[in-house]
Symmetry: C2
């Protein structure tokens, strides 16, 4: 079965899914504080100006700027204090020529005023007269009405991932609830005659299932909702029934099995039973992670992940995580700017086959300001290699390895 398929690069594999994406999902409405990290389903527009009036950005005196022109410490401009702005209230008057009102940061400018002089650049002569020792230009020390956002303007575009500051923007325009894209549900089916659940005691020849909890945690970490199914034996009928059920209950399915040819053949056979499009690729030209199946079954992405824990996580990270975060592999979002955001010096020579992308588990060490990436040695079948690693270093397909001291791109894991 595998022989019919050529191993694809990550980019080709993503492209193979392109025409079936994004994964559709109806929006849901959430209060602001529950929306952190979620994606807006629809754009949000401001229905009013923020702020709704010209505000001072300093403590001082609201003035007409032209009354301050030419002011110096030696020859201050003198103006009369004719009022005071009370916080949270509209000033009940108008500033005339040669007049000033006391105002605090955030206060509303009185009519007639077009600038604020900082208290530091004034001297109080008597109770009601100040000398201004430095001129201000019109608009100085002011936030204009609508300067933060104007009525009708787009505050946040559809698809935007909500961050803390976005809640600030939404609060400012009086929006207490937002429509966000619902979380993707991810079904995780573990197969393997040798696997038992983490709460069970393995008999000789058996091991506890490592991958399904790792994957479930990874689904949560990128904002999805995992659903763990019972471990089943590597048999076509059992897997077919379980997959059928999982397809009804989820938006995306992960098949996590052993790394044996037998396990992979069961997965491939069962996927093909569901008809077209079925398997899109069987094999990725990456290390670790080669024995991966990508498929579309009943309009849902299905991945057959490698059995080795480190391999399964690498493939998850490259192929599954973007879908759970954004529903597709689009490069338009900001996350993709920085898929491997850190630069670090690799601490030893590593070989890599040409034409293959390598993902090296590394420990990060800060050596007096230099970030070092120290490869974690060990088989990809060992979960401890991922536990000891802080990140994955990337060796592109075009390179045949890296030399100690060379810079590599790293992502945290």
């Amino acid at each position: 079965m595998a022989e019919l398929f050529k191993a694809l690069t990550v980019e080709e594999a993503r492209l193979a899914f392109a025409s079936y994406l994004p994964i559709k999902k109806p929006p849901e409405e959430l209060p602001l504080l529950e929306s952190i990290g979620r994606r807006l389903a629809t754009e949000v527009r401001a229905a009013e100006d923020v702020p709704g009036f010209d505000r001072s950005t300093v403590d001082g005196y609201a003035v007409r700027a032209r009354d301050t022109y030419g002011a110096t410490e030696g020859l201050p401009s003198y103006v009369d204090i004719s009022g005071e702005v009370l916080m949270g209230q509209a000033p009940g008057g108008r500033i005339g020529t040669g007049q000033a009102w006391r105002i605090a940061t955030g206060g509303m400018l009185p009519l007639g005023a077009d600038a604020v002089v900082m208290v530091e650049y004034t001297e109080l002569l008597e109770d009601s007269v100040i000398g201004i020792t430095r001129p201000v230009a019109p608009g100085e020390n002011i936030i204009r009405r609508g300067e933060d956002i104007t009525s009708g303007e787009i505050a946040l575009p559809a698809g935007h991932r909500i961050r803390p500051q976005d809640l600030g923007m939404l609060s400012s325009i009086g929006i207490p609830r937002v429509e966000v894209v619902a979380q993707y549900k991810v079904g995780i089916i573990s197969t393997g005659d040798e696997l038992v659940a983490p709460y069970e005691c393995p008999a000789p020849g058996q091991v506890r299932d490592i991958n399904s909890y790792t994957l479930a945690g990874a689904v949560i970490a990128c904002g999805g909702e995992p659903k763990l199914y019972d471990i089943i034996r590597d048999e076509d009928d059992l897997l077919k029934n379980m997959l059928e059920r999982a397809l009804e209950e989820n938006d995306l399915i992960l098949l996590s099995g052993g790394s044996s040819v037998g396990t992979r053949d069961v997965a491939a056979r069962v996927i093909e039973l569901f008809g077209k499009p079925g398997i899109l690729f069987h094999g990725l030209s990456i290390k670790p992670g080669k024995p991966t199946i990508g498929a579309m079954v009943k309009n849902r992405p299905v991945f057959g992940l490698p059995g080795h824990p480190a391999s399964a996580m690498v493939v998850f990270d490259l192929m599954v995580a973007p879908l759970i975060r954004s529903g597709d592999y689009s490069n338009s979002n900001k996350e993709s700017l920085t898929e491997f955001p850190l630069r670090a010096e690799i601490t030893r020579n590593l070989h890599s086959a040409a034409g293959r992308e390598d993902f090296i588990r590394v420990r990060l060490v800060n050596q007096s300001g230099r970030l070092l990436a120290d490869p974690v040695l060990g088989k990809s079948g060992l979960i401890k290699t991922m536990v000891k690693a802080d990140g994955l270093a990337y060796i592109p397909a075009g390179k045949e390895g890296v030399e100690a001291g060379e810079s590599v791109d790293v992502k945290l894991i």
Copy 2:
């Protein structure tokens, strides 16, 4: 009041808190899938070897390595197939000299076998004899009993932040629940005569509270539990009562007010009413974020944050976020390796006062592989400057600015 205090650097401000940290918190027990992102309260040790037996990492034949020495394609070593390992079962026999058992990836090695030959390097001659075309060394293609973790070994240390792969490790050693440090509760008190809640309609002179929702979102994003109190007026008695209540209900308090001297004076006066140690610093030598108060009140950190939204977020990020994540400013954790992890080229000249740390809001742009940091211009009183920014670029205290094209360290926000 502020005049009595010298503005501190971020490092000095963190040091001022050092003797009062970490913030204590009793542990709580959680099932694995709920523990993602939390910190282990106690170390976890393995109570058994994983795997519990020698396993094959490939599909092939379990053999005695010495039976394969000298094997080549031209002159294969011939061995008898004397059994087959069934997945999930202990093999019911022993391998003798010149014998091999069929075995799949993950299968348990029969007694007597010390290596596995990959099926690719064998040729089946008749039903029960294979030719081996490449020698294997003892231990080759095997994961040894206890190679992932050995009984008694520390699987994860206390304080470790739980990642997906850590769930895999915990599953493998049969630990379905873990003790984690409870989330810090963070009380957010907003003061200001001009502020109304996001769901209210501001009258002239009033604005909706931007900072408390921004801060609450930031608390959630770093793993804390925010509690928003009603907005109160800038009056000593009101703030004193509210702070008293918030101190009883939280581990850490944020006072978010306007940027006026009056607002800051109220906060400082009220904090001092609670006695020693009280205010630890009043003013940070950073931009934005200077007008910050740091205090210990009733054994809890209390921060008086600047009123300008961008300033409040920068201070939160530097001074509050580490406490919510880890309970202290310790540099031992991996997060601090990478406080400003990205390197980008700044796109314009920026001035910075010597002796002051500057945090520049930047948009990140990927220009054919080069990461550019484009400063977002605008007053720190505008929340839109934070909404438009993807990150903060750092200019250290020793520098008096950066030139266009120079590399800067950036963190995502």
